[in-house]
C-alpha cells in the first residue's frame, strides 16, 4: 500500500477500483476486499508477454485505461518481465531478460500471448530474434503456470487466419495442449476485461470460470444483443436502413446494417470503451463480431445476419441446368406419349375381356 500511496493513489480509491472490478466480474461483494488485500500484499508475480503475428492493438488497448494511475498499478502489482512494446531493453538485453525471468520463475510465471502463430514455411512467417514464434511459444509455455491468449488472434487465429490464411496461422490453444489457457478475444479486447482476468488470477490463484470457447464467462457470458441499449427497437422491428436515415438518427437497431451483436459474446454493451464513453453501436455502427472465431470470414460487416454471407455462385448455373433437364425430359415425355398413341390398338368388344 505504501507503493500505491507513492503513486498518489489513496487506499480508498484503490478499494473502489477493486470493488468495481469485482462487481464487473459478478463476484460477491467480499471479493472486492479480498482482491484489494491480495493485490496489495502479494509478491509481484512474473508476467511474460510474447507478441507473435499481431498488430500490437492489444498492447495499445491495455494501456488505454479508465484511469492511467490505477492501471499502471497493475503493472506495479505484477512484474512485467518481458513486453516488447513497453520494456526499455532491446536486442540481446531483452533476450537475456526473457531467459532470466523464465529461469527464476519456472512453473510460476503467467504467459500472455498476443498475435496468431503462423505454421507455414516451418514458422518462418513470424520470428523474433531469428527464432520462429512456434518454437518460442513451445519453449516458454513449458514453465508457465497459465497462459492468457490475449486478443482474437492469439485466441482463435484472428485476422491472419482469415481466408485464404496464407501464413498458416493458428491459435495458441491449437499449439499448446497441456497448460491452462484463458482466451480473451476481441480485436482488440476491452481494457478492463484484460485487467480483470489478471486481477482474478492474482486474487484467487485460479482462472475465472470459462465458457466452452475458453472465454471468461464474467465478460463473455452474454451477447452484445442481450445487453444492447437499442434492443427495444430490434424487438419492435424499428431498423435503420442506411447510416444517415431517420432511423439511424433516432438511434434505431442496426441489424439491417450488418450488426453482428446477436452472435457476438463480449462486454462492449455494458462496460463500453474509452473509459465508458461509447461503443460501436452507440456511435452508430454495427458490431463487427470481433471476439468470435472466424469473424472476418462470416460475411460482410454490412450484410445483415439474415442475408447470404457469400454471393450465390452456383444458382444461375443450377437454374440453367434445371431448365435444360426439364426441356430434355419434356421431349422424352412427349415421345413416350406419342409412342403410346401410335401403338394404340382400337378396343373392340372382345378386347374388354382378359
Amino acid at each position: 500500500m505504501a507503493g500505491l500511496a507513492q503513486h498518489g493513489v489513496s487506499r480508498r480509491s484503490f478499494l473502489k477500483f477493486c470493488t468495481t472490478l469485482a462487481s464487473a466480474m459478478a463476484l460477491p461483494p467480499a471479493a472486492g476486499l479480498a482482491m484489494a488485500e491480495a493485490m496489495a500484499a502479494a509478491r509481484r508475480p512474473s508476467v511474460i508477454w510474447l507478441p507473435f503475428q499481431e498488430c500490437t492493438g492489444c498492447t495499445e488497448s491495455i494501456t488505454r485505461s479508465h484511469s492511467p494511475t490505477i492501471e499502471s498499478l497493475i503493472f506495479n502489482v505484477i512484474s512485467l518481465d518481458y513486453q516488447e512494446t513497453l520494456m526499455a531493453a532491446a536486442g540481446h538485453q531483452a533476450e537475456e531478460a526473457l531467459q532470466h525471468a523464465i529461469k527464476e520463475n519456472f512453473g510460476k510465471y503467467i504467459l500472455i500471448v498476443d498475435g496468431s502463430v503462423p505454421l507455414g514455411q516451418g514458422g518462418a512467417y513470424s520470428t523474433i530474434g531469428g527464432r520462429s514464434n512456434l518454437e518460442t511459444l513451445k519453449e516458454v509455455a513449458k514453465g508457465a503456470a497459465a497462459i492468457v491468449a490475449m486478443g482474437s488472434c492469439a485466441a482463435y487465429g484472428g485476422i491472419p487466419k482469415a481466408n485464404p490464411n496464407p501464413t498458416g496461422a493458428v491459435s495458441v490453444s491449437d499449439v499448446i495442449k497441456d497448460k491452462p489457457i484463458v482466451n480473451v478475444p476481441g480485436c482488440p479486447p476491452i481494457p478492463v476485461v484484460m485487467t480483470g482476468v489478471l486481477a482474478h488470477y492474482l486474487t484467487f490463484g485460479t482462472l475465472p470460470e470459462l465458457d466452452k470457447l475458453g472465454r471468461p464467462k464474467a465478460f463473455y457470458g452474454e451477447t452484445i444483443h442481450d445487453r444492447c441499449y437499442r434492443r427495444a427497437f430490434y424487438d419492435q422491428g424499428k431498423f435503420a436502413k442506411t447510416f444517415d436515415d431517420e432511423g439511424a438518427r433516432n438511434g434505431w437497431c442496426l441489424f439491417e446494417l450488418g450488426c453482428k451483436g446477436p452472435v457476438t459474446y463480449n462486454a462492449c454493451a455494458t462496460t463500453k470503451w474509452n473509459g465508458g464513453t461509447s461503443w460501436p453501436v452507440e456511435s452508430g455502427h454495427g458490431c463487427l463480431g470481433c471476439s468470435e472465431p472466424d469473424f472476418w470470414d462470416a460475411g460482410s460487416f454490412y450484410k445483415a445476419l439474415s442475408m447470404p454471407a457469400d454471393p450465390l455462385k452456383t444458382v444461375a448455373g443450377a437454374a440453367a441446368v434445371g431448365a435444360a433437364v426439364g426441356v430434355a425430359v419434356s421431349f422424352a415425355n412427349r415421345a413416350k406419349k406419342s409412342a403410346a398413341k401410335a401403338a394404340h390398338e382400337t378396343t373392340t368388344l372382345p378386347d374388354l375381356e382378359k
Partner: protein, 427 residues
Amino acid sequence: MSASLEKGVRVLKEVIDAPIASYFSSCVHCGLCAEACLFYTETGDPKYTPIHKLEPMRRLYEQEYTVLGRLKKLIGLSKAVTDAELAEWQELVYNSCTLCGRCSVVCPVGNDIVYMVRKFREGMSASGNAPDGIKGAANRTITIGSPMGVKLPAVKAQMRHVEEDYGLPIPMDVEGAEYLVMLSSMEIMNFPEYLGAIAKIMHQAGKTWTLCSTAFEATNAGMQIGNSDLARVIVSRIVDAAEKLKVKTVISPECGHAYTALRWEGANLMGRSFGFKVRHIIEVLGEFQEQGLLKTEGFETDRLTFHDPCQLARRGGVIKQQRNLMNMVSKNFVEMPDAGFMNWCCGGGGGASAIEEGEELRLEAFKKKKSQLDTVKPDRLVTACANCRIVMEEGLEHYQMNLPVVGLTEMIADHIPNPVVAKPEGN
C-alpha cells in the same frame, strides 16, 4: 380376348396429360374430397376417398413421366402397377364412383378428380378390369343398339302406341327436321310417356322434329366403361344420323351421361367439331319457355322437390332452367338442401346402376339422398334423368319410403292441353 395389363398401361400413358400431372403433383392429402363423396360419407370407409381411387395411375404417372420416378424405377425402388392391383381397384373406380364430380368442385388445390377417374377407366377397360355389368351394357349397345337390348321394332311399337294415345304423329328419319330427338332405353321401356310429351311440346312450339331408325339410343355405355374407342362407335352413329338428316340440333333425353357423352365428349371422340348443336331436353324446354313457345295451364298442388342429375347440373351447366320450368307448373316447389350445383348424386350414375355386385353399396350411399328428402318431406320427387329415377325408386323402396318419382318433361307436357288433330280423310 386380348385385354392385358400391357395394353392398359399403354393406354394410361396415352391419356396422362398436363392437367393430370398437375393434379397429382398438387394433392396434399387433405381428405376433403372424401367429405364430398357420398360413398365415403354414408359408409365411413376411407378407401372410398376419391383421390385414393386413382392411386395406381398416380404411381404410373410418377414412374413414367417424372425424372425422380424414372430414376427410382431404374434402381428398382418403385412398386410396379400389377393386374391384381387393377382388379382390386375395380370396386373403387366403378362401383363407388358415379362420376358425379362433387370431389372436383371441393378440392382446395383445384384437382379435377372426376376427370382423372374418367381417364383411369380407359386403362381399366383396356386391361380387362371393367365390371361385367357395364361390359354387358356396352356389348348390347354396340351389337344390338341399346344397353337394355331394345331394337328398332320395339321402338316402332312404342311409337305407334304413343301416336294412338296422344293423337300426334311421331316422325322418323325426316330429313331437314330442326331437331333430332334421342331416347334412352330406360325411356323406351319404362317411361314411354316421355315420347308423347316430346310430341305435345314440339307440336305446341311448332317445331319440326324426328327420330332416327339407325340412331335412337343416346345412352353411351362405352363412356361409362370409360373406353373412348367404344364410346366413339356409339357416338358416331348419332353424328352420322344427324348429319345425314341435316338437323340443326340433336336433343339428348332425360338421361345424365348420354348428355355428357354427346355434348361434351362427342366432338373430342370424333376429332372434329359438329355441324349441329347438342342440347339436353331441359335446355330446349328452357329455351322454349324463354321464347314464349311453351304455354301451360294449371298447376300441381302437392309439395314437390327436384333432384338435379349430376351430369345435367354440376357437370353440364344446366341448373336454372329446371327451376324455371318447375315454377311454371308448380305452386309448391321446395328445394332440398344442397340443391342445384352441389346436389348429391342418386348413387347410380356412370354405369354404377348396371353393376350387380355394387347394389349393397349403392343402397347404403342412398342414405344421403334419403336425408335430403327427409329434410324437405315432399309429396313427390321430380327429376330429369331416367336412370336417376330408376335408382331412386329402388332406393326409396328399400327404405320403405312412399314417394313417387316423376320426370320433368312429362310433368310439363301434362299441363299442355291435348291437341285436336283432324284425322286424315278416308280412315
